[in-house]
Subunit: 132 residues, 2 copies
DNA sequence: GTCCCTGCAAAAGTTTTGCATTGCG
DNA sequence: CGCAATGCAAAACTTTTGCAGGGAC
C-alpha cells in the first residue's frame, strides 16, 4: 500500500491549507503557509495548519520536502513525480521533471538490496539571478 | 570556486569529529556524533562538535544531508559523489552510486534555466529487514 | 601579545503535543 | 450525546550564538 487510502474530513481549514499549497509557486515552509492561510481563514491557528499539512502529506495530497541544507520542512503542491533544482547561493528552488531510464532503478535495487520503488533527483547549481 | 580552499587548523577535537564521521557506517546526526566523540574526547562540548561539523562540511571533508522527512541534519563521511536509498518504514539509509547519462544534467539546465553543476539521486523503498 | 578554539549556557526557531472548547454528525 | 477538529499555550528538540578562559603561534 503506497499511501493510506482512508479518507479524512476536508474541513474549511484543511481546504484552505491545501489550496494555499497548491497555488504556491514557491515551496513554502509551514510558517509561510500559516501566514498565507490567515488571509483566507483569519482565526486559524498554527497547530491546525501544521496538523493539516501532515495530514495532507500522509494522504499524498501534498509533498513534504527537505531542501538544501535547511532544517525546515517545505511543502509542494505539485503531487506528480518530479525533481528539484536548488540554487546554492540563494536557496531558490525550481521544479523540473527528468525521466530516468528504467535500468537506473534496477541498478539501485541490485546495489543496495533495498526494494526501490521511487526516486527523486536533486540538482544543485545557480539560478539565473545568481549567475549574473 | 567549488569549495573554500582555505585551510583550517585540525585541532584534536576537530580530528576526532572528522574520524567519527568517517568511520560511521550509518549517517549520524550532530547529537549522535557528539555522543560518539565523547568516548575519544571526554570533555568536548556539543557546540564544538557542531561547529566542527559545519567547518568540515564547508571544507568538503564531510557531507551534510537532509534525509527522509526528518528535520535534522545528518552527516556522511563518504565525500565522493554518491546517492542514497532511504527505507520508508524504518528510515534506514544506504549509500549507492549511480552514474547518470550526461544529457540528464544538460536537460535539467535547459528546463530550469539554472546552471546545474551537480546532482544527487534519492531512492526510496524498503530495506531488506522491512521487506520481510 | 594576538588570535583562534573550546566549553558552558542561553537564545532562536521548528516541530510536536496537551487540553478545553466548539461544532458537525 | 459522541467524537473529531480547532486554537491556544506549552513542551521538546535542533540549530545558533555570546562570552570568558586557555592555548597555539
Amino acid at each position: 500500500m503506497p499511501s493510506p487510502p482512508a479518507a479524512f474530513r476536508l474541513t474549511p481549514q484543511r481546504g484552505a491549507v491545501r489550496d494555499v499549497v497548491r497555488q504556491a509557486q514557491d515551496h513554502p515552509t509551514a510558517r509561510e503557509v500559516y501566514q498565507r492561510v490567515r488571509h483566507r481563514a483569519p482565526g486559524i491557528g498554527f497547530a491546525t495548519v501544521y496538523r493539516a499539512l501532515n495530514l495532507l502529506a500522509d494522504h499524498g495530497q501534498v509533498l513534504e520536502l527537505q531542501l538544501g541544507d535547511e532544517a525546515v520542512a517545505r511543502y509542494d503542491g505539485n503531487v506528480a513525480r518530479h525533481d528539484h533544482v536548488v540554487c546554492n547561493p540563494c536557496g531558490a528552488v525550481a521544479d523540473v521533471s527528468v525521466e530516468l531510464p528504467a535500468h537506473v532503478t534496477i541498478e539501485a535495487t541490485a546495489a543496495s538490496g533495498f526494494a526501490v520503488d521511487a526516486y527523486e533527483l536533486r540538482f544543485s547549481g545557480r539560478c539565473p539571478s545568481c549567475s549574473d
